[in-house]
């Protein structure tokens, strides 16, 4: 691992301790979920954001079954599950938990958080996104969040402060965008496992520092050149989320001799390609437009799947993708349906496709067959490419 990545990893690891200390000094800690809550607002209010998106462990989702249906996706359940197990380092002292309200899984988990008397604040995200008034609903919701944060911190969110945080996050997006370009090379300088990790770290570390570290890493990678074999199968990883801590599947894909050259994930990564926020004019509206419209519509949006498939085809072309791995969470019903459509469409494109489903059960017994499936898929692509 490069020195810069190690530094970012260290900063991310120490973030909860840092937050606890800041809290002790009178700071406010705001946790948030999903990909529709702009951290720019939280920073601009003088509070400290912390994205809740841990996953990849089997026990936490099971702890909420006393309160919750078992057919909810394990990522949503994990957000309360870690707390139940006493393994959530931040929620016990968080001043606010801002929960995006997109789909049923996160919606009912937010109600479980309320049931448990967490300080929950909900931000509605209409899914029928093509109607102008639904966008306005989201923009208004962001305006209300701004007021809530101002009340919490006692600080007025000024345009100046907001612009500062917008610029910082834009810089992170820009660095990730440049780094992603490197992945278009025949031998990419960085794989998907590390790129996803960088995204994760970027949610935890101070934005200016992160942006500068990512720039430094970009220069280093550019200099170093490719680290994967030129003929390694090139994979597009798609699905809802690779959560913080859920690294088994990306690692297995790259350990099997393939390289993840691009992702199409709704959460857990930044929408760095197009989500830069304009810095002039009504900043709340600019943020709203960037978060709502300047992204691949998530699966929950309707209509979405044809748009998403078009975008997937563009990614396949841009990144010279040889195969697609669809990484789905168990019982995530709408992703399951989208997957059936994509299988059909990929079949028409004759694009190799592998559907994987995870309940975060990565025991030795579960990982063995998973490894075999991934290895077979990678081998079949190699065969198709004439590599073996």
């Amino acid at each position: 691992m490069s020195k810069v990545m190690s530094e970012l990893a260290e900063m991310a690891r120490n973030r909860p301790i840092e937050l606890k200390e800041l809290k002790g000094k009178g700071g406010k800690v705001v946790e948030y979920t999903g990909s529709f809550i702009p951290e720019q607002l939280i920073y601009a209010a003088g509070a400290e954001p912390y994205l809740m998106f841990r996953g990849g462990e089997p026990e936490p989702p099971d702890t909420v079954l006393e309160y919750m249906l078992r057919f909810m996706n394990p990522h949503a359940r994990s957000q309360v599950g870690f707390w139940n197990l006493g393994l959530d380092p931040v929620t016990p002292f968080a001043d606010l938990v801002v929960a995006q309200q997109t789909d049923c899984h996160v919606g009912r988990i937010a109600e479980l958080m309320e049931y448990l008397k967490w300080p929950v604040y909900k931000v509605g995200v209409p899914s029928d996104w093509e109607k102008p008034h639904t966008r306005e609903y989201y923009y208004k919701a962001l305006g209300k969040l701004k007021t809530k944060l101002e009340e919490l911190t006692g600080n007025k969110i000024t345009d100046e402060e907001l612009k500062k945080s917008v610029v910082s996050i834009n810089k992170i997006n820009q660095a990730l965008r440049k780094m992603s370009e490197l992945r278009k090379a025949d031998s990419p300088a960085i794989g998907g496992s590390d790129f996803i990790l960088l995204n994760h770290y970027s949610f935890f570390c101070e934005p200016e520092v992160t942006a500068s570290k990512l720039e430094e890493l970009y220069e280093e990678l550019k200099e170093k050149g490719g680290v994967f074999p030129k003929d390694a199968p090139r994979i597009l990883l798609a699905g809802r989320i690779v959560a913080f801590g859920d690294y088994v599947v990306p690692k297995l894909i790259e350990d099997s001799g393939a390289v993840i050259v691009t992702e199409m994930l709704d959460e857990g990564v930044r929408h760095y390609r197009r989500q830069d926020v304009e810095t002039e004019g009504d900043l709340i509206r600019n943020i709203g437009e960037a978060y709502y419209l300047k992204r691949i519509p998530p699966c929950i949006f309707q209509p979405a799947w044809k748009h998403r498939f078009e975008r997937m085809q563009e990614l396949i072309k841009e990144y010279k993708v040889d195969g697609v791995v669809w990484y789905q969470l168990s019982f995530d019903e709408i992703y399951d349906m989208e997957c059936s459509c994509i299988i059909k469409w990929m079949d028409e494109l004759k694009m190799p496709f592998l559907k994987l489903e995870s309940s975060y059960e990565y025991s030795r017994e579960a990982t063995g067959p998973l490894t075999t499936r991934i290895e077979s898929f990678v081998e079949s692509i190699k065969e198709r490419k004439g590599v073996i």
Binding site: L69, C104, Y121, E333
Partner: protein, 471 residues
Amino acid sequence: MKKDIYEDFLKIVGFEGDDIPKSLSEWRTASEKLGLTEEDVRFATEEWIPQNWDITSRGVRKIVGAIIREAIDLTKANEYKKNGVKIVYGIMPAILTNYLAIKESGGDRVFVSFPDLFLVSVLNSFFHKVNPYLETAETEGGISYGCRHCALNKTRLAARMKGVIPSPDVIWTWGFNCDEGPKTDEYINCYYNPDWNVEITRIPHDTHFGEIDDENRERVEYLALQLKDSCERVEDAIGIKVTPESLSEAVKTWGRFAFKNGQLQYMVATSDPLVLDGNTPTLAALPLFTPFNTGLGYMEEAIDILTKEVREKIQKGEGILPKGAPKVGAYFVPFPNPWLNTMFLENGVGLNFSLIIALSKRQLKPPTYKDPYMATAEQWLRMSPGMNMGLEVEDTIEKVGASKPDAVVMGFFDFDRWLGAHQKMVAKLVEERTGVPHFYLECDFYEDRDYSPEALRTRIESMCQVIKMRK
């Protein structure tokens, strides 16, 4: 003379006099289109319906008959479409008055239905035969078995794939509760039928515990705007204008029916001895959730007859269980699996009312707004599925207090990531506040492949033993 099982069927479902010979041929054709064999009709007539529905009551027979008449009509939808009738579908839960208004405005030029709810209700409640539809969706339609998808959504897709229903001019689909319902329509459009034209109306679940959804004017306005906007798009799709008069008339019709049905629900829920199983009043409430293209005449007549019978039985002290037998409420009595209710009765416990249908004081309040869209939006936000869980708990406490059950059984919605997801929490909170014991039974409202009688018998028996001991 050779026994005609189709004729016998019509007799046990309340068809009378000249209506039987007139309807016989239509019923044969309809049942064939639905995929029902002669053996299925025999099974329903001689076993399933007598075992699970109290057909000694003329009112009950008539209620089942009203549903069968609508099923016959549904099988004519392909023919209607060929003849230029506009086809409008919807899904549950929806704001029904919109569909009633479309029908009111369009008359015979438009056909309205929630075909999946209808098919599941008819096929499983009376024939125990929805599985072929579910299997078609799973094996040929790409909807996986293992992900616990909703039987209604599978049935909608399969009904289209089997040609039972035509593609609509528009399906006005709702995401007021679950995501899977509206996304299924996107799925059908993407996966199977590009002509499946979808109009979607949703509102985020973003109110907090302590907030009263229907008193939040901004929320009511947003929902009203959504309704009006979708209504206009539907009008464009079918070329029929929905007039404010039609909408007002629809609100009145729905209100009249809800009142009539509410009376029946209340009489049954509070009767001692219990006069009727909980399946029938819940089935009779179907027009509150799905539009009847043939109108509400038959169902209203059936409810009038049943209400009269129930009143007489209460006066005579007659019941289906001994006086004092425990009565249990449910979130929503699972009438498409009628054996569940029968199993409770066999164990001396009456599963007799649905919390979701019972009306709270808030739901009975007259509308605050004159504008029909605002009034409709407000009404929806007063309903259990339209409010946040905190408020639903408050309403549920009131309903449990009014109906005074010996226990409440939650569950039956394991496939629904909205309506099913929170029930364990609701159970805990309501039990805490009312002292009425709450149980949770993981089960599927619409189908029973994963929760067969064999699988649930012991659990239900234990539940009933505990309820009886506590009483």
